[in-house]
Amino acid sequence: MRHRHVGSIIILVLAVVVVATALGSVRIPLGDVLGILASRIPGLKVLVQETWSVSREVIVLQVRLPRVLLALVVGGGLSVSGVLFQGSLRNPLADPYIIGVSSGASLGAAAGLLFFIPQGLVGLGALPLFAFVGAMLATFTVSRLGQHRGRLEPTSLILAGVAVSAVLTALVSLLMVLRIQNLQDVYIWLMGSLSGRGWKHLAVATPYVVAGAILALWMAKDLNVYLLGEEAAHSLGIDVERLQRRVLVVGSLVAAACVSVSGVIGFVGLMVPHALRLIVGAEHRRLIFHSMWVGALFLLVADTLARTVLTPTEFPVGIITAIVGGPFFIYLMKRGTGYHG
């Protein structure tokens, strides 16, 4: 049963990728997109005739395809990170954006981008590590502030996240305004955007997101037990503190990798796991697997809208996720967390 699903999911994702690649300020016929893609796959090359123009090939391969793939990676990564934060903090409102982890990552990445990478001290590949340091600092601070009598409190956690996030975002803005003077870039970074991203960004983020997803699946069984509460998890053989530490580190790393290439895209990690929990249940292996591909498609669709709705101009995809996500967050708060039964 599971394998049939996986097959349909792969076909669905591929179909959306092809359509999204065809759409844009210059529309490219689906046949050309398929042909250009096939011509790059060794076994399929003989089947296609090159009838398209070079400019179309450049647009597909150099501009759109890497951005489309990056949307998949970032969307999937943010969703997995959301599952991890919600699971380890046992709080359905926790997501890297809301609890300030993304802002921390963004500050770290901005520092790397402005001070270290231009000087050639390190390459672009180190960017996620800068973001990771920032993300861990934010995670550590927020989970400390969110504690009451040694236990994480849902409300304090969210409030601490909002406060820390506000400070960090202000610091990012300050840093960027002082260093680059280009408010357009600052604004794109703060809103979260995939504009102008290419293969090198894809290469930077993908390894971390893939590794994080594998680690997340590896920890899924323990996360299931952890849902029962700390005492029950302990009595079922889980080292609660160690699990919490590991999950926060992996969640921060994945979020950091995403933020370092896309800026702060909000609410994806909140909405996707939440919607899926209602459909596939809370079992973490299922939840992580489905969050990955649904999150990937969600961000791809959102980003495709962001760059086609107002052609020839485009706007940051973070605007779309925030317009959808803000009301969703309010709805969740009003409805009660629904997480504690």
């Binding site: 046992r90 069984k221 009595s235 079922l236």
Partner: protein, 255 residues
């Protein structure tokens, strides 16, 4: 017979305030123990110490003669099962939830074996939730959920069962059924230790009672020996007449 569990001079404090002081106890296999006492007596803390969720600041707890602190969390989960006072419920099916009781026995990436499934099935049968196996736990009533938690603990197949107020949210029938189940478990050789507020349930079902008051063990013994009007008045500040059940002869506690 050797002690299943032994406490020697166990002291636990929270923020300098002692919650349990110099507690020594011996617990045997095949007995159903009741722990009673007013609010704040340290009953839940005692269970958390027995489960090694908390570590005593002074003294030592032994399981099968071996210090509790020398067990890994996972090994301990094969010896002691816990039904906590508060459980969280999620969109898991009843069967998935009960199978979580088997987690200490299979590896991280492994699947539950046929044996694990059979044990979970048996645990659902004795707790009378077999017909709910494919229902989602968060949709069940309080009493049904409590039986799911009980089944999960049974599925661990441990020699020790700890229960923190397992009957609190149950109606009369399910309160009595739960106590009967625990009684039956203890007759199979399990050491059952339950914190209970209903003294009449304790009087009816438990083999041995520990009375805690302000962190100290003030009395222990069979319900008949322990539940005297004087003790009830001293510990619970309620005056009761001396009554006994006309059929069983066990004490009845009512004002």
């Amino acid at each position: 017979m050797g002690d299943k569990i032994r406490l020697e001079g166990v002291t636990y404090s929270y923020d300098q305030n002692p919650v349990l002081e110099n507690l020594s106890m011996h617990l045997q296999p095949s007995l159903f123990y009741g722990v009673v006492g007013p609010n704040g007596a340290g009953k839940s803390t005692l269970l958390k110490l027995l489960d090694s969720f908390l570590r005593p600041q002074k003294g030592e707890i032994f399981l099968n003669g071996r210090p509790l602190s020398s067990f890994s969390v996972q090994d301990l989960a094969k010896e002691i099962a816990m039904v906590p006072q508060h459980s969280h419920y999620f969109p898991f099916t009843v069967e998935e939830m009960v199978l979580l009781g088997r987690t200490p026995f299979y590896t991280r990436l492994g699947k539950p074996s046929d044996n694990d499934l059979a044990i979970a099935q048996e645990a659902m049968r004795v707790t009378d939730i077999e017909h709910l196996a494919h229902r989602v736990v968060s949709d069940l009533s309080g009493g049904e959920r409590q039986r799911v938690t009980l089944a999960r603990a049974f599925a661990q197949r441990t020699g020790v069962l700890l229960l923190d107020e397992p009957t609190t949210h149950l109606d009369l029938e399910h309160q009595i059924n739960t106590c009967r189940l625990l009684k039956a478990k203890s007759e199979e050789g399990v050491t059952c230790i339950a914190v209970l507020h209903d003294l009449n349930l304790v009087a009816n079902f438990c083999d041995h009672v520990f009375v805690l008051d302000r962190g100290r063990l003030v009395k222990q013994g069979t319900p008949g020996d322990v539940f005297t009007p004087k003790l009830i008045e001293d510990v619970f500040h309620v005056a009761v007449p001396k009554l006994s059940h006309p059929l069983t002869g066990r004490p009845v506690i009512t004002p």
